[in-house]
Amino acid sequence: MGKVIVVTSGKGGVGKTTSSAALGAALARDGEKVVVVDFDVGLRNLDLVMGAERRVVYDLVNVIQGEAKLTQALIRDKRLETLYLLPASQTRDKDNLTAEGVETVIGALKQAFDWVICDSPAGIERGATLAMRHADIAIVVTNPEVSSVRDSDRIIGLLDSKTLKAEAGDRMEKHLLLTRYDPVRAQRGDMLKVDDVLEILSIPLLGIVPESMDVLRASNVGSPVTLADERSAPAVAYFDAARRLRGETLPIAIPGEKRGFFGKFFGRKVA
């Protein structure tokens, strides 16, 4: 039986889709069988970030409405054979996502995959609540910035009350993924530090992904950042986060705190 992860944040643009694709690819490269599910009906983008936009025939809504079989809608990644994508519908609206339909699809995916990663839409509406509903584990993606932290706090509240796990009285496993972290600005005191965010949200840290050009570059070419350049700083952060998800205990390096001589004097951008 696979594990269901929701990648969520409340706020848009913080890196949910980037993180879903990167973690999915990182897990798959370690041999795990992974499916990444796009819940952003009407505004799908996971297909684009993963470079599968031209291969979408059927989508999640088609499967829920019985117009296509699950196996027909799943798209296998061209680079990794254990990585799959279930795209969202671009033309329908989110009312087509029914609670029962989502339950059936997630149930079937859990049987076939080790990891089911649900990429949540922004907001706290239907798409977002359905994406988190069946999760075993939540990854809360947060930028070190006031509006993102506030929205994450709200989402944590929903994870602890509106999910099946919470309703059954179980504790939802939550992890913080701090993204777009800029060590130079944090050092200068103009960006919330890792400890600040951790203290405010008080959930365990899964990883810190530094702000980096590599993320944009990877999305430009339609590749998860962990596959585009696996030695880039964000890729290393995602690979480590994926290993932590699998239960490994690894120390978390705070970007910028191990700067060498040259970095101190010339490095405006670590990462």
Binding site: V146, V149, R150, G189, L192, I200
Partner: protein, 87 residues
């Protein structure tokens, strides 16, 4: 000039941190009672309107949320009715 500005400018992250802590303390407490201020305002105004006519435009409600204590200030203009002068 630019360098000077960089050094003289104070850090903004501590302010972000403090503002968030106060805000979230309130937002977390508000779960289940989503709009206490609105309720208080309505009830206060209802109580007062039993005794006098209130012009909605002459009422101001202000809220200040602090880390430990919040204040709710209701300011109502009470018209002095000259027609009802004692005979």
């Amino acid at each position: 000039m630019n360098l000077l500005r960089l050094f003289s400018r104070s850090q903004s992250a501590p302010a972000a941190r403090e503002r968030l802590q106060v805000l979230l303390a309130h937002e977390r407490a508000a779960v289940g009672d989503s709009d206490l201020v609105t309720k208080l305002r309505d009830e206060i105004l209802r109580a007062i309107s039993k005794h006098m006519q209130i012009d909605d435009d002459k009422v101001s409600v202000r809220m200040e949320r602090g880390a430990k204590v919040s204040t709710l200030a209701v300011d109502i203009e009470i018209p002095f009715d000259t027609d009802k002068k004692a005979a």
